[in-house]
Symmetry: C2
Subunit: 333 residues, 2 copies
């Protein structure tokens, strides 16, 4: 391994004491301009970097952010978290922070992992995903006054922590209004059973879109996520006395099922009936499925910015809430 | 924050010196059994963990493994790396190691990131993905004798570092032989233009499968990856005087294109013509596409095991090479 520059080698090269080098780094105003110049030149020439381990012991800051990586599901939406991970890492790097991954089987295991990461690695803070009603993770972190931010609003809980989320209802409303403008009068919703925060939110947006367009018909069949769910919901909706001519779906997987059922019946998606999915997965792009896209890179960047403000103590007294708007990506369906 | 147990509080609780506690942790043979027992009990009761920062300064080991996270591509295969990331993190945790992510625009930027992560965080070693001919990253790491392992063999280069890979040629050969056993006599390959290591390897497996089945016809149209590429290759192959009845594809994206073109022509995938993709993406599972599955969890676990052996100095004199077998997942196409 190449010889690593140390405080000692810099001090020697600049003909100053170790304390002076340390001062140039931590309290430059204590050092005369000439000496500062000489030390900075030596730091530069030797490629010296104060090691994080040493800095951590001094400042109790590791510059490390913890993130639980969820197991890959069966759907096609995993890649949304993939994008999130990449953007999070890139933005953290801009602020000289790093993302450290961990796994956990459930929320309680996640809190145990927090404790472990703080004690062993000295992680500074956490980014949480998949927030939900009665989330013991945010409670655990709040009680201990640990810095964190969530991708996902504090569903049902008080607004006591910083969060970033995407306005899902706005996405399904955009989709519904677009379909109504195209002349569709019977626009169905294919979504999850009531009780999931994200699913209820997306259903509410569809209802708001119908109301805004003055449409009273509300055809919907709640199903669990997946292509088969979408297919069976579409089959039942298409068998109704007056079949819908458009489908707003809570996910791309559901939408793919609807498209499959339409084709099965000889109906051309995009011509005989319209379908709009949610999440704008690569699968949607690849198969020409219209979809609602979440601004994932912005969510990630905003998470890092909020957490960074908390860590620096520059966050306001009130926790910051950021609700970002999704956009409609129209393709062939 | 809960009061964190320290070397001091353990020493006090066990009524011994700080040095004795340190000895119990680092050189237990120096401590009498009775005292050792008492200190271990105090460590356990107080939940004391030697902090990584302190341990790192002492042992120059951070227990942190660096991994570059690649930007999300346009295809549907991103999720394969997602699975890799999760398995890597989970296996690293079993060995008390952590995965730290970083981004880099290209190979040279990746080597600069190595230098930065070693200097600033003290990362112990790296897992590299996407190895290729004349890979400057592995050369850079070898020259500095830094610990690393690659997911991907050292294409064309000498076998001077540890690697784990999946035998892609075996996968396409399995697919080809399966199709030949089903009675197909004209089995096409839809893959990438010559010159990509992975693509050439998969093409070679198809050729070996044809040879083993005694089939002389080698219909193929090289195309760039993507559904459109698969569609246009299938169109040209189906327009040939004797059209293929089966398609072995270098990716699921290409296979989805082939399936689309078959449907466009009123041919039923799985009945009128067979299609097998590569990577067993969630999209393949969701759409019923047969595919070659890589044992990603095993690849990740083996990467961690090899790197761990290198870090502990228990690796053999010769670098370890592990080539894992893929398996064929048959669905409806």
């Amino acid at each position: 391994m190449a010889q690593r520059a140390t405080l000692n080698s810099v001090a020697e090269a600049a003909a100053v004491s170790r304390q002076t080098v340390s001062n140039v780094i931590n309290s430059p105003e204590l050092v005369s301009p000439d000496t500062r110049e000489r030390v900075l030149e030596a730091i530069d020439r030797l490629g010296y970097r104060p090691s994080t381990a040493a800095r951590q012991l001094r400042t109790a800051r590791s510059q490390i952010i913890g993130l639980r990586i969820a197991p890959v599901g069966n759907g096609v939406s995993g890649v949304v978290l993939d994008q999130f991970l990449h953007s999070l890492t890139a933005t953290a790097e801009e602020y000289d922070h790093r993302i450290m991954l961990f796994t956990a089987a459930d929320d309680e295991a996640e809190t145990r992992a927090y404790a472990d990461l703080i004690a062993s690695v000295g992680v500074d803070g956490f980014v949480l995903t998949h927030t939900h009603h009665d989330d013991l993770r945010t409670r655990w972190l709040k009680e201990r006054e640990l810095p964190f931010v969530t991708f996902g609003r504090p569903w049902g809980a008080e607004n006591t922590h910083g969060w970033v989320d995407v306005d899902g209802a706005r996405g399904t409303r955009l989709a519904t209004e677009h379909l109504a403008r195209q002349g569709h009068r019977r626009i169905a919703f294919v979504g999850w059973p009531a009780g999931s925060e994200t699913g209820d939110d997306r259903r509410a947006g569809w209802e708001a879109g119908l109301a805004a367009a003055g449409l009273a018909d509300r055809p919907q069949i709640p199903v669990f996520d997946g292509v088969e769910g979408g297919r069976s919901a579409a089959a039942r909706l298409l068998d109704e006395p007056v079949a819908p001519t458009a489908f707003v779906c809570a996910s791309d997987s559901l939408a793919l099922g609807v498209v499959g059922e339409l084709r099965e019946r000889g109906l051309r998606p995009g011509a005989d009936a319209s379908v709009i999915g949610f999440d704008d997965t690569p699968t949607a792009a690849v198969l020409g499925l219209s979809s609602v896209a979440q601004p994932i890179a912005e969510v990630a960047a905003e998470c890092v910015r909020q957490l960074r403000a908390t860590l620096r103590g520059t966050a306001g007294a009130e926790p910051t809430s950021t609700l970002l708007a999704p956009r409609l990506v129209l393709r062939t369906t």
